[in-house]
Symmetry: C2
Subunit: 415 residues, 2 copies
Amino acid sequence: MKKANVVIVGAGIGGVRAAQELAGKPDVHVTLLDRNNYQLFPPLLYQVSTATLATGEIAYPVREFFRSYDNVDFRLGEVTSIDVKAREVVTKNGRVPYDYLVLATGSTTNFFGNEEVARHAFPMKTMEEALAIRNQLIRCLELADQEEDEARRRELLTFVCVGGGPTGVEEAGAISELIYQSMRKDYHQLDFSEVDIKLLEGTGRLLAMMPERLSRDAARMLEKKRVDVCLETMVVGYDGHVLTLKDGRTIRTRTVIWAAGVKASPIVAALGADYDRSGRVIVNRDLSVKGLPRVYAIGDSASFVPAPDARPLATVAPVAMKGGICCARNILHEVRGETTEAFVYKDMGAMATIGRSSAVLSVGKIHAEGFLAWSVWLWVHLLRLAGTYANVTVALKWVLNYFNNARLGRIIVER
Amino acid sequence: MKKANVVIVGAGIGGVRAAQELAGKPDVHVTLLDRNNYQLFPPLLYQVSTATLATGEIAYPVREFFRSYDNVDFRLGEVTSIDVKAREVVTKNGRVPYDYLVLATGSTTNFFGNEEVARHAFPMKTMEEALAIRNQLIRCLELADQEEDEARRRELLTFVCVGGGPTGVEEAGAISELIYQSMRKDYHQLDFSEVDIKLLEGTGRLLAMMPERLSRDAARMLEKKRVDVCLETMVVGYDGHVLTLKDGRTIRTRTVIWAAGVKASPIVAALGADYDRSGRVIVNRDLSVKGLPRVYAIGDSASFVPAPDARPLATVAPVAMKGGICCARNILHEVRGETTEAFVYKDMGAMATIGRSSAVLSVGKIHAEGFLAWSVWLWVHLLRLAGTYANVTVALKWVLNYFNNARLGRIIVER
C-alpha cells in the first residue's frame, strides 16, 4: 500500500500536535517543515525577554518528538509559497510534494502598515526578537548608568509597551519586576525614580476578551507595579527616539515593544482562498480550507467560526493544539475513505499574569484574580511546556524568582 | 580620606576575583570595566558549543557579585587603549582615570597571521563564538539530511578541530558524543558512517602539558569515540570548503574549529612594555608590570616566570584567580604604604575530559585516567561555576546527559 504523503508546514504547537497524532500510523508518511529546528512555546516568550527563562526552556528540538517514529521526517527550511495546482510546497531549497497539506504557520506581528514603527519598534513573536528585547532592556540601564545628561538618561529609562492584550500586559508587568525588583540593587548610582514604564492601549480597556471587572483589576495591579497604564491612546509614529500619539503628544523613549496586533503569516495569504481581515484563511467545519480539497489550516493560520454569528476562535495555544488533533484525524478519515468530523472546541477561558503572584483568570462563569489565579496560570503553563527537563528547571527558576527576585538571565549576548 | 581609584579592565575570572578582594575595603574605590556584562567561565565553553549547557549557566551577571558593595562599580564598555602617561583607560564612551590599574583582559584566538583561516574557521573564545559553532554543527546535519550528492554530504558531515590542547581534545570528544550518541536517532535517513570527526595537532602528541602516557591515553580514548586523531599535521590554509595541510593533502569540510593557539588581548600589546612571544606583558614578582608603576597584570594578560629558567605560568583559570587575589592585596599594600608581596603559585595540575565518563588528570606525581579522573574533573568544574542556580542545573544536565545522552540545547537560534 502506498502511504499518503502528509506535509505539515509549521512546527509550532498545532503542527507538532498534528504530526504526533499521525506518528506511527501505517497509512501516512509525514513531512514536517519549519524554518526553525525547534518548537517554540510562545506564551512564555515574555519571560525570555525579561531574563527569567533561558531559550532552551521554551524551545524544544522538533526531532526529539519523533525519534521513535520513522513515518515522521522533519525538514529544516523556509517555505516561500504553496503551489496548490501542482500540490507542492515551495521552499528555498526545493519543492516538497503532498497528498494532504496542513497549514500551521502561525502569525506574525502586525504593524498595520506603519513602516516607521516597524523599523524602530521591537516585535516579540520569535526567540530572536525576545532576546533582542532582553539585550535592549539591559543595555538601556547600562547606558543610563553612564549618561550624565538627564533628558537622555530619562529617554533610556522610559520603556513603552504598545497593546493591552495579554502579551502587552504580561510584558509590562515583567519589565516592572525586572527593573524595580531584580535590577535595582545592581546599580549603586542610578536614580530609579527616573524609570518610566508605560502600557499604551488604543481602546478603553485592557484584556478585551475578559469581563470588564478583570480588565479593571489588571490595570490596578499594573499601576501597583508602577506601570503607567494609558487607555484610549493610539500610536501614530516612532523614529527610534520620539513616539508620537494620535492626539499629538510625544514620549521620548529608546524602547517601544509592539504587542498591538498580529496577522496570519504571509504564506497563507498567497493561497488564493478566502480570508478574514487578519489574513487568516477561512476554514470549513472540518478545518479544511474552503475551496481547496485536501488542504487544512489550523491555529493562528485559520479563521474558524464555531457557530453562525459567533466570532472566530481566538489565536491561542489550546485552539492550535486541539485543531492539530482534529485535522490529523480528518486526514486519516479521508485516507481511509471515511467522512470527516467537525471541529468542536470547548473554550478553556483566558488568563494573564501581571508579574509575580498576581494574575487574572476567566473560565466560563468563574472569574478570579490575585494569587489563586496566578497559581492556576503557573501550573497550566508549567505542565504545557515540552520536556521534563524544562518542567523542572522552569519550576526551579520560578521558585527562585518568587523568593529572591533572581533573574540570572540578565546577560547581553549578541552576534 | 580620599579613596584610591582602582580600575580593573576585564571581568573574567581574574578581574572579578581581584574586585571581590577589594570589595568593602574602605581605602579603595573599584571600577570594573568589561565589554560584556557577564563573567564567562571559559573551561565549559565547549559544552555550550556542543549543546549541553545553556549560555546562562556559564555566564554570571557581573553586577550580581557586587550588589552589596558600594565601593565596586561596574561599567559596560569596550576599552580601546591605556594612556599610561595620563593614567587613564580609554574606552569607546570616554576616559576612566585610575590611581592603580589591573589588566585582566584575557586572551584571544591566535591564527598566527593566516587571514584566510581567520576568515573561515570558527574560533571558540567567546559566548557568541560557542553559539556560532553550535548552530553550525546542527545546521550541517540538517543540510546533509537534505543533500542528495554524496561528496557535498560528506563535506557537510566532516568536522575538523585544529589544536591538540585541552580545548581541541574536549571539543572533539564532545562533538563525537553530540553526533553519534545524542543526534543519531534524530535523523531517520542519514547514514552516520559518512560522518568524519578529525582532531589535527601539529606536534607529535596531544596535551603537551601532560606526561606522555596520558597523551597516549587521551588519543586512545578519542579514537574509541571515532575521532580520527592526526598528529604531526599542520594546517596551512582553509577557504571554507577545502582545508589544506602542510604536506599538500586536503580535507573537504564546512566546519573547522580553531583551537590551535591564543595570544594576549591587543589592549595589553599597546602598553609599550616588555612582552613574551604570545604578547603577554612581563610582570615583576609582585605582578606589577615591568617599568609601569601602579599597573598590574594577571591571568592570560601576564607573563609570570615563577623561578629563573622556569616556563611562564600557564594560561589557565586557577592562575588568573590566584593572581587576582595577589594583585588586589598588593594594591592595598601600596595604598597603605606597605611593601608588596611576591606571587606564589602552587601548580594545581592539569585535566582534560574526553566526553562522558573519561578524562585524563595529572596532579604532581598523581596521574589518573578514565572514570576517576572524570569524576574529579566534574566536581572541580561544578563547584567553580558562579551561582548556586548554575551548580544545580548544570549538575542536573550532566546527570541527564550521563544516563540518556539528552542534549536539549540542540536548537539553532541566531540573529
